[in-house]
Subunit: 198 residues, 2 copies
């Protein structure tokens, strides 16, 4: 097995471990024990704990971007709802790791913040990306008859913060709100949030 | 001057200092220098840096709750807009300190998180608080003909996360969006976010 393949396997193991524990709890020691190899060998692959965390968070962010990739058929808001469905599924499966990523980004680690912002931008940029839209149905903005302005971008960013906070709160404690209602509310909230755009 | 009054003065100084620097940058050393008293005396008042930070954040949260106190006249959404106006003003004046509070809460310090959640709950609870509403105009939910359900509470929580993220992003870089448009969009977003509630 090439060193590169071995490193990829270790990162994948790190991502799996991150789904049930926080970034602080994900140490080189924990990885070494789970992988059944020595700490020394892990330092050979990752240099230090911070590089290891960066590689794991990068990979987790790539997974998130991949699983929520837009579908290309259906009406714009229906496609948005399906992308949200995949996002909720991701947070359900990787709750601890995802919360840990959000917290790490907020805590001021610039590298982790950058990876997080990139993942969030990838999710929201799709709303503006005409290339993602099916040729006959147009994009989300087009269906709402909105131009791509700074005000609209600011509010779409706000909508994505709302989605993140709401989904984390719901996965932690659904309070009797069912999944379909959640998805419907989040999708309906986008045109709602944009309703006051000039 | 009583020790209690002196301590309050020092906390107020801490809050002022927090408006232009982050919590990490707000050390006992910085406070001692600005207050012109010894570090030893400060440890007498606060015990340790963490207690000092808790007192400052508690006081900043109280300020936020106070300046955004709901007004009692006008239509529900107009009152909401005025409360948002005060909130934006607070973030403008205390940008670094406020961002620092949000980050500290996200980073996992449970005490700071609790104070932050309490401040946020105080802001959103007003939307459900009939006692805050002018007798003739009713509350925000009433004006939207919505019942106080778990789904509605979840989405109001999401709206407040959106407001926080959007206002911080706008104060950092307005991108040509003017203040009135921002306030109008944030107020219109509440009924928008709730439009999909079952």
């Amino acid at each position: 097995m090439s060193p590169e393949t071995r490193r990829e396997q270790l990162v994948a193991l790190g991502v799996r471990l991150l789904s049930t524990r926080s970034l602080e709890e994900l140490s080189i020691d924990v990885l070494a024990e789970e992988a059944g190899i020595s700490r020394g060998l892990l330092y050979h692959y990752f240099g230090n704990k911070r590089d290891f965390h960066r590689a794991v968070v990068r990979s987790a962010a790539d997974d998130l971007i991949r699983v929520t990739a837009p579908v290309h058929d259906g009406e714009p808001l229906e496609r948005l709802a399906r992308s949200l469905d995949a996002y909720v599924g991701y947070v359900e499966e990787s709750y601890a790791g995802y919360v840990s990523l959000v917290r790490a980004a907020a805590s001021g680690d610039e590298d982790l913040r950058e990876i997080y912002e990139e993942a969030r931008a990838a999710l929201t940029d799709r709303i503006f990306d005409a290339a993602d839209a099916a040729a006959d149905a147009g994009g989300v903005l087009e269906s709402l008859r909105l131009a791509d302005t700074a005000a609209v971008r600011l509010m779409v960013r706000g909508w994505s913060a709302m989605v993140e906070d709401t989904v984390i709160a719901w996965v932690r404690e659904p309070q009797g709100v069912n999944r379909d209602d959640l998805l419907r509310m989040l999708a309906a909230a986008l045109p709602g949030v944009l309703s006051g755009a000039p």
